[in-house]
């Protein structure tokens, strides 16, 4: 009997872990929980509606993925799509970034191999959350590389719920960014690891990471400019070393060769002005290596100084002359409009209205930053300060990444996504260092020299060393209070992120919901109703004309040929459609017949003002016969009696308001009251001569949300008139009206 307690306590002792094992257990379990959290927080829309693909661009990606699963890689890579951009067609293989589709199909094949009978659509819907979870893991390792494992854990937690990232990676958002942010962070991590260790293996891995990034997203230009800039800064601050040389050379050469395998990128790495910085820095590195070798060989410093001056001047001169020759002869193309507008933000507004009109490309107001980052904005400067205190190759990198991405995020709302990993990492450094200092204080036992710490509940501060402070108990209490403050702050952050995800970023945009009169939820599935009607009731070779927003969805779900779609690569073609929409019916029918169109699709939205600008400006940009002032009254768009005559009789107006004059839309108002614009329409008696109404979806209830993230699709969804032009077929599709309840 006496041995029993001994063996029991022995048994317990054998289960007790050593400290290192305890720490490992805690870390692994935190990472697992964060992994799961990142996945499930993106599932709101799947739980509320169903598992479907959101918005517009993802439908194109889905269609190409379908094609890839059915026809294999070789056919996909050489695919010429004759069903979009009729009659021009589109070379799909050469105009897309295949990374996303190939990844999804790979996952699909692996699951099928393991005998899970999934549909490719489910894989597509859940690809983005899966890669978001992987991003948290990469963030952990990156944080560990920059600072320590505590910072890595905090970084993983922060990035798992950060709304800036969630906005483009919810379940259903099957778009390049979902995979690209993972590739971006992964490439950066591998490169920083290569610079820190100087090992060839890590450099090669970073080259392959870069290849994956190039295959996934056009934003790889950010990487190929940030890394050379970083190398340049290191060279200037005198941190040249063999590790840097190995890392950058391997990554650049191998990465460039691999990137050229993507047809869309082609030879841009040697021809485009956007990639010249990388090449310049590459040659500069060779010069540095050469100088280092010469210094090693020579023993005379004075001679070396002279040699140094001559070499550097001549190298810079030769480089400058080569660049100048290249640009003058046209071999090196200048910066394209999309990226040039980042350097000179006022460029797009004046010269390229199509780029300036997308609501994602607008400059950012501070409330958007606050919406997407919340308290990380306060922690960011604190983290910057910490990084400057402990300058190393890795912290210099993260500071540069943070600052450049924040600047670009200020120029364009969409780029908040690229800034998110940097902000999370830097804030994580601040949080981790502060919490560490506070807990060290709490756990210190009667030490003579103590570290005091201060922390604002709203921000975070570092510790300050105080000499012999007698009031030890107060310090402990202070530290506890501050820790509670930190905990409170982070919990507010989590609440904010969850709310934002649920309310703002989880809408599929193709299915809409509103609150009915009794608070019950009403769902509008008009888009899909319309597309399936098209699919089932029109001949197989019918051609549909609509505004370019809906092109992808029509081809993917309606399976019919369209005239223009979201790729917007041919401005003149889009302008032709715009011209048809804005002209009188007789002129329009000419254009419609010349394009061989059978059906015209209209989305009757209530959100005017934004998209009608586009149709007129884009049409007018190419065809001077369309003059925007013709449609305006006192500078604004009106649809009531006081509207411009051209507006009242243009094709779009007539198709939208066809028989609208008979509708009673709101109790107490006259028939034909446009609830979105708040006026009674001017031309109630719309007669169509060449076009007939074919189909109208059923809903007239209105819904409007003010969220910035919705504006781009709602406001663009103004009016596409759907009219069939041939013979007796008339199809008008009036989808939902949008308005405040």
């Amino acid at each position: 009997m006496a041995t029993m307690p001994a063996s029991a306590s022995d048994l317990l002792k054998s289960f007790k872990l050593k400290t290192k094992q305890q720490e490992l257990l805690i870390r692994v379990s935190i990472l697992c929980l964060v992994y799961i959290l990142a996945f499930i927080t993106r599932l709101f829309s799947v739980l509320r509606y169903e598992s479907m693909i959101h918005e517009f661009d993802p439908y194109f990606n889905y269609r190409t993925t379908l094609y890839l699963t059915e026809n294999g890689f070789y056919d996909f890579w050489n695919w010429f799509d004759y069903e979009s951009w009729y009659p021009l067609g589109r070379i799909v293989g050469g105009t897309l970034y295949p990374g996303l589709m190939v990844t999804a199909v790979l996952i699909y094949r692996i699951l099928r191999f393991l005998r899970f009978a999934v549909h490719i659509r489910e894989v597509c819907v859940l690809t983005a959350p899966f890669f978001a979870s992987n991003t948290t893991l990469v963030a952990y390792f990156f944080g560990k590389e920059i600072w320590d494992s505590g910072a890595g854990l905090v970084a993983a937690i922060l990035i798992a719920v950060c709304p800036g990232y969630i906005s483009r990676s919810v379940a259903g958002s099957y778009d390049n960014e979902g995979v690209a942010i993972f590739a971006l962070l992964f490439t950066f991590y591998l490169f920083v690891k290569a610079v820190n260790t100087g090992s060839l293996a890590w450099s090669l891995a970073s080259a392959f990471g870069y290849f994956y990034m190039v295959s996934a997203w056009g934003g790889y230009v950010f990487i190929i400019n940030l890394i050379p800039l970083y190398v340049l800064v290191l060279l200037i601050t005198g941190r040249y070393s063999m590790r840097l040389y190995v890392a950058y050379n391997c990554m650049y050469i191998l990465g460039m060769l691999l990137a050229m395998q993507i047809r869309f990128v082609g030879f841009q790495h040697v021809q485009s002005g956007e990639h010249m910085a990388a090449m310049g820095v590459f040659f500069l590195m060779q010069v540095f290596y050469f100088l280092d070798w010469v210094k090693h060989m020579l023993s005379d410093t004075k001679l070396f100084q002279a040699f140094l001056r001559i070499t550097v001047t001549s190298a810079v001169a030769v480089g400058g002359i080569a660049l100048g020759l290249g640009m003058v002869s046209g071999y090196i193309s200048p910066w394209t409009g999309r990226f040039y507008s980042l350097l000179d933000p006022t460029y797009a507004k004046d010269h390229i209205p199509i780029i300036a009109s997308v609501s994602e490309h607008q400059p950012t107001a501070w409330s958007s930053f606050m919406f997407d980052f919340h308290i990380l904005l306060f922690l960011f400067p604190a983290g910057l300060y910490f990084c400057f205190k402990r300058l190393s190759d890795a912290t210099i990198f993260i500071v540069m990444y943070g600052l450049t991405s924040m600047y670009f995020a200020g120029v364009m709302v969409r780029l908040i996504l690229v800034a998110t990993p940097a902000v999370c990492l830097i804030s994580a450094i601040a949080v981790s260092a502060t919490v560490k200092n506070l807990t060290v204080l709490l756990r210190s036992k009667n030490k003579v020299v103590q570290t005091g710490s201060t922390k604002g509940s709203g921000g975070s501060k570092s510790s300050s060393k105080a000499l012999l402070d007698q009031s030890q108990p107060f310090q402990k209490n202070g530290a506890i209070a501050l820790l509670f403050g930190a905990f409170y702050l982070l919990s507010r952050y989590a609440t904010h992120c969850t709310w934002v995800t649920s309310e703002a970023y989880s809408s599929p945009s193709i299915v809409l919901a509103a609150r009915g009169a009794h608070g019950n939820r009403v769902i509008f599935d008009d888009y899909r109703e319309a597309y399936f009607w098209l699919r089932q009731n029109t001949p197989q070779d019918a051609k549909v004309m609509s505004w370019w927003d809906y092109g992808y969805q029509i081809t993917a779900m309606g399976n019919r040929t369209v005239i223009v779609d979201n790729n917007t690569w041919n401005n003149t073609h889009i302008a032709t459609v715009g011209r048809a929409m804005s002209s009188y019916e007789d002129e329009a029918i000419e254009i419609i017949r010349s394009l061989d169109v059978d059906y015209v699709l209209v989305v009757f939205g209530g959100v005017t003002g934004y998209s009608s600008d586009d149709i007129n400006k884009i049409g007018g940009g190419v065809f001077p016969v369309i003059k925007e002032p013709d449609y305006l009254v006192n500078g604004e768009y009106r649809v009531d009696k006081g509207a411009a005559p051209k507006m009242l009789n243009c094709l779009m107006y007539k198709l939208c308001y066809y028989r609208f004059g008979e509708m009673m839309t709101e109790y107490g108002k006259p028939p034909g009251y446009d609830r979105a614009r708040g006026v009674e329409i001017g031309n109630k008696d719309v007669k169509l001569e060449h076009l007939e109404e074919a189909f109208t979806t059923s809903n007239w209830i209105n819904l409007r949300k003010d969220n910035a993230s919705f504006q781009w699709c709602l406001s663009l969804g103004i009016v596409d008139l759907a009219l069939a032009t041939n013979q007796n077929f008339l199809e008008t599709e009036l989808l939902t009206l949008f308005q405040a309840t």
Binding site: P363, L403, K461, A466
Partner: protein
């Protein structure tokens, strides 16, 4: 806005070589000619108006330029004139950013400083070598981005607006997400940065202070100020965007 108007006027004159007298530009000062304001029926400023040759009543027959069009300043005014009167203003001659005098002065100063700067660079003691400079530069870049200054520059937002209902009041903060005014951006950016600055002060400067009470007071002050700053920003954000952010509790708890 008045300067932009002058630019349009002078461009018109130079482009037409003072020969075309079909269009002339004028401006009215409120204090001097209040009755003229009433004649035109002007309610708010800024106000740009075109009176056509066939207009009988100044108030009703003239075309008012929309407030929203002011964003592109001289170019939009020129377009307005062209669309209403079918007369072309021609290319707008913007005065250069720095006048010739200013440019000359700056060049002279630079030349004077050049030898001094060169000497210090070679000695390795310039400002650029101090990490604090880089830190303040970094904080400035952060401040610039986060306060939405880019948005103000691109959209050319004014520093403040006059309240529509009460012309004596000034509106500094724009209610509604997605847009902001100039002063608003600076205020919010300042609130963000003050938290970081206090951190730096506490960590570095305070250490050298000998008096323990002073140290404690300073830290308390830092705590209170940062708490207030964060609260202010969050309140402002909630007021501006109108979102009611709340946690999701199980409905059975209500």
């Amino acid at each position: 806005l008045r300067r932009e108007f002058e630019i349009v006027a002078s461009s018109f004159i130079t482009n037409h070589n003072s020969s075309n007298t079909k269009l002339f530009f004028g401006d009215i000062e409120f204090r001097e000619s209040q009755s003229s304001f009433q004649l035109f029926g002007v309610n708010s400023l800024p106000h740009v108006r075109l009176v056509g040759p066939t207009a009988k009543s100044l108030k009703y027959d003239s075309d008012v330029m929309d407030q929203g069009d002011f964003s592109r300043l001289a170019e939009s005014m020129a377009e307005f004139v062209e669309s209403r009167t079918k007369l072309t203003v021609g290319p707008i001659h913007h005065p250069p950013v720095l006048s010739k005098m200013q440019l000359g002065l700056i060049t002279a100063l630079l030349l004077l400083c050049l030898p001094l700067v060169a000497k210090r660079i070679f000695a390795g003691e310039t400002l650029l070598h101090d990490p604090k400079i880089w830190l303040s530069g970094a904080v400035f870049v952060y401040f610039f981005s986060v306060s939405g200054a880019m948005h103000n520059i691109i959209r050319k937002m004014p520093m403040f607006l006059v309240d529509r209902n009460d012309p004596n009041k000034l509106v500094f903060f724009y209610q509604g997400s997605g847009m902001q005014l100039g002063a608003e951006g600076f205020a919010v950016g300042f609130l963000y940065t003050v938290v970081g600055l206090l951190l730096a002060v506490v960590t570095h400067v305070l250490v050298y202070v000998k008096d323990a009470t002073a140290k404690r007071l300073a830290m308390l002050f830092t705590l209170l100020v940062s708490f207030w700053a964060v609260k202010k920003v969050i309140l402002l954000d909630n007021w501006k965007t109108g979102y009611g952010i709340h946690g999701f509790w199980p409905s059975s708890w209500n």
